[in-house]
Amino acid sequence: MAQKATVSWIRTNGRATLAMAGDWTLANAQDLAPAVAGAAAMRPGDPCLIDAHRLTALDTTGALLLLRALGDTPPSFSAADVQGMNPANMALLRLVSARHGQLAPARPVHASFVRLLERIGGGIVNAWHQARELLGFVGMMLATLGKVLSGHRRLRLTATVFHMEQTGLDAVPIVTLLSFLVGAVVAFLGATVLRDFGAEVFTVELVSYSFLREFGVLLTAILIAGRSGSAFTAQIGSMKSREELDAIQALGLDPIELLVIPRLLALLVMLPALTFLGMLAGLVGGGLVGVLALDFTPAMFIGRLHEMTELRHFWVGMAKAPVFAFLIAAVGCLEGFKVEGSAESVGRHTTASVVQSIFLVIVFDAAFAIFFMELQV
């Protein structure tokens, strides 16, 4: 068990002596620290001696505390100044003393208002940089895509098909299930509100309009942004952190052609396909609620769907799918390229990728809504 550490001042022959006793170690530091602070306050002005005859152990923390007790101008710890300390502890004390002299930490702390302004400014500059980077990256993607389509660069067919399976086929269950459920919820909600007006039959239009124009594509895009956009960032990001991207460049290959174009093409094909499935699933969900809760027959539901819903709503929804696919692929890949070094950076950029791509999808969806309204389609 550690011996209790003590510190005291003794005055002999007109010279002050600091008497140390017990274990001056980290384990005792909690009790020793206030005692040392007290001793430092009572420190005499003239040079002093150190009596370590009753010192039983010393570690770096103990040495640091001794320096604190002696104040800003510690003695040189020559043999004449320190009595009764063994050579090992003396060496430790000198080393700590030499290094402690170098410590002068004074980090400037700004007032909180200045820091608030600093953060706002930093955020704005950052957003501007990100927008510019994204635009630049989109340009690079389009240029490379043009070269691939015109045959100047190779199309990586195997990689493209692989990503089509990963982002498209594997996402079918979750996209259809969620669209089905949301379709059912919309139908139920519509039926509840419309029943008061005796207009339950309009539930069909509610479900078909909302799913064909908006929900089919929006739900799918958000799911794919969370599922595949994040995967793109993580895949490319971990390659970046292991210098694989540098290796690709050093071998004279183009990372955009090799990594980005297959992912982009896969999403451009698969997001519309998934959107189509999502629309179907939503309509089925709405129809099921109609049949079970509103006493429609399936034939009635399909008949009214045919009669009242024009094909243009379907095209409005489908037209948005490739745009969202492009956005998700661009943000997902770009964030992957922005990863630096550590694994933590991969995580940060993956989060940023999901947040940004969902944000952009919804912003573009709103812009499309206004655009199509003005066109009156």
Binding site: T60, L64, P105
Partner: protein, 271 residues
């Protein structure tokens, strides 16, 4: 058991699947020495370090720390021993979300109730002891060079004033000047802080300039553990290939005098 044996490994067996890494391995670590462990790639040097440090359960045999078997301890007792061990990993293994200062402060904050200014002082002192410039304290690990990350990892390993320091390839990935400075730093710290050092290395220069004893790991056990002059002349073919090879000649020719001065300098600047 003699009084100055700090760690006693007896009959250690380590198995991964069907691959036997150690079998009937015996090794003693004496108090106050710097023990270098060397062996071919895949000879199980790091596994040995991890077994002794308690990061891997041995598949057989015993490991004793001051006479106490450490292999079947309750978690509480194991942690008490862990605090007496300091571990420096190959690339520092610093927590990437914390600054260097916070990394070094962490064990102090977790295990001791000290005033914050004292915690900070102790941590800064350890950072200064390892020869890092003080402006590195506020940086994140990703902003440091490999050599600085190693030094920061060493500062964290030293913060609880451990009795035994485990170093996993401390000089790998450093330039020759940085590696020599690091060797000197370890020697200085051992002398000043009364440490026992367990060192896994590939670096023959380190073995010659730093180690009191060298243990050679080959064919699943410790072939020999002795002073380097004695190890050199061991008939084992791997040892002969290693210590009579072209790389050893240079290392032996440049045996430096033991460093007594405080190791200084820093290797590499922040990126």
């Amino acid at each position: 058991m003699s009084a100055d044996v700090l760690i006693e490994v007896r009959g250690l067996r380590s198995v991964f699947g069907t691959q036997v890494v150690h079998d009937a391995l015996d090794l003693d670590v004496h108090r106050g020495e710097i023990l270098g462990v060397i062996g071919g790639s895949g000879a199980g040097k790091s596994v040995l370090l991890r077994s002794i440090a308690g990061l891997k359960d041995p598949d057989g045999g015993s490991i004793r720390f001051l006479g106490q078997d450490t292999t079947h301890l309750r978690a509480e007792d194991r942690r008490a021993i862990d605090r007496r061990f300091g571990l420096m990993f190959q690339d520092g293994a610093l927590f990437s979300s914390l600054t260097v200062l916070e990394n070094v402060e962490l064990p102090l904050v977790e295990f001791h109730h000290l005033p914050p200014d004292l915690v900070k002082d102790i941590a800064l002192l350890k950072i200064a002891l390892t020869g890092l410039p003080l402006d590195a304290a506020a940086k994140y690990p990703a902003q440091l060079s490999g050599g600085m990350r190693k030094r920061a990892g060493l500062a964290r390993a030293l913060v609880l004033d451990p009795e035994i320091l485990f170093l996993d390839e401390p000089t790998s990935g450093l330039d020759p000047v940085g590696a020599a400075a690091f060797d000197e730093l370890i020697l200085t710290l051992r002398n000043a802080l009364d440490l026992t050092v367990f060192l896994v290395t590939h670096d023959l220069d380190s073995l010659y300039s730093l180690c009191d004893r060298v243990a050679v790991l080959s064919d699943r056990h410790v072939v020999v553990a002795d002073r380097i002059a004695a190890v050199e002349n061991h008939p084992d073919p791997w040892i002969q290939a290693c210590f009579r090879g072209p790389r050893a000649r240079g290392a032996r020719a440049h045996q430096p005098a033991p460093a007594a001065a405080i190791a200084g300098g820093n290797d590499g600047n922040s990126r």
